[in-house]
Symmetry: C2
Subunit: 166 residues, 2 copies
DNA sequence: TTTTGTTTTCAAAAATGACTGAAAATATCT
DNA sequence: AGATATTTTCAGTCATTTTTGAAAACAAAA
């Protein structure tokens, strides 16, 4: 397999995995392209390589910057801005965790806290409260665990996983 | 907050979280309903409670059975089949991990293994191979970790998370 | 300040994915 | 077997999400 084919396949696969991680295909492709590019790229180059529209490139570069997965630099004496990806995978994962936690876990946490106010007045509500309590406990625990992971440094993060495997 | 309002809110929230977990809204709603129902329900009751079509109920109950999140029972002397959810949350999470791993992680693993065949013949391909190698290592590690989690019993699973938090 | 090159915004179009409804298949009961 | 109740399937419709493209905003250079 040569490098051109490899790049293409990589970008395509990264895009496919995206759905499951709360990332749009285009965003994932831009990220993949920047990940494997040794040099920073400008918006135009990204557009050309991936064959997606100017607006799409702009929006997704912005999103990746917001997510903390990509950085931007303005070379002196040059009008274009260039972008490059965070290459430390643990940092990448951490950023993804942070974003998904905020987007998905925390809203649920809020609702579960609200639901704790339901009174147990009948067999049905008793069962409901038991289930909600269980989920609430677990969700809070997951939330704490993620907070710890987020604060931990990359070395420790890898180590923790390794420990679980052993 | 009374039980009716609580149920509704719970089902709605569960549906919202669904997107991020590779589950359709309707599937999540059916699951939520069965989770908080003290008694098993038949397809018709699910349809009535959630106000979704017969076909949708059927497809999603089937999917939940496939995922191992819901069980089915045929009460003797009765024509309808009734469904009830797995209530042990660790089992639920384990099933979700199993399914998502199969659907999302394993295909990527395959591609990465293929990409290992790219030759390092230029600076660009050298960088490409480095990135792919890193991702590949990490992905395999994640895969192993998940395998361990899946095999572990519920008690240990909770314990492992607890340890990480500490 | 004007020109020129670049990025952002956003309404509309396209693509994707989920849901419906009715017909077909299956299962149960008499 | 025939009648009836239940479940499954799937093509078509509908809703949501993503992408486009062109105009507006912005920024640097002249």
């Amino acid at each position: 397999m040569d490098i051109r084919e490899g790049k293409q396949k990589f970008i395509e696969s990264w895009g496919k995995m995206a759905g499951g991680w709360g990332i749009t295909p285009a965003m994932a492709q831009v990220h993949a392209l920047l990940l494997i590019s040794p040099e920073p790229l400008c918006a135009d180059q990204v557009k050309a390589e991936l064959d997606i529209s100017t607006g799409n490139v702009s929006m997704n570069l912005r999103a990746l910057l917001d997510w903390g997965l990509v950085y931007k630099e303005t070379p002196p004496g040059c009008r274009k801005e260039v972008y490059f990806a965070e290459k430390d995978l643990w940092k990448v994962i951490r950023q993804i965790i942070i974003n998904r936690k905020k987007r998905e876990l925390e809203p649920v946490l809020l609702v579960l806290d609200e639901l704790a106010a339901v009174q147990e007045t009948c067999p049905q509500s008793e069962h409901f409260c038991t289930v909600v309590r269980d989920i609430r406990k677990l969700t809070h625990k997951a939330n704490q665990t993620l907070d710890t992971l987020i604060k931990a440094d990359s070395h420790w993060l890898g180590g923790a996983f390794l420990n679980m495997v052993r």
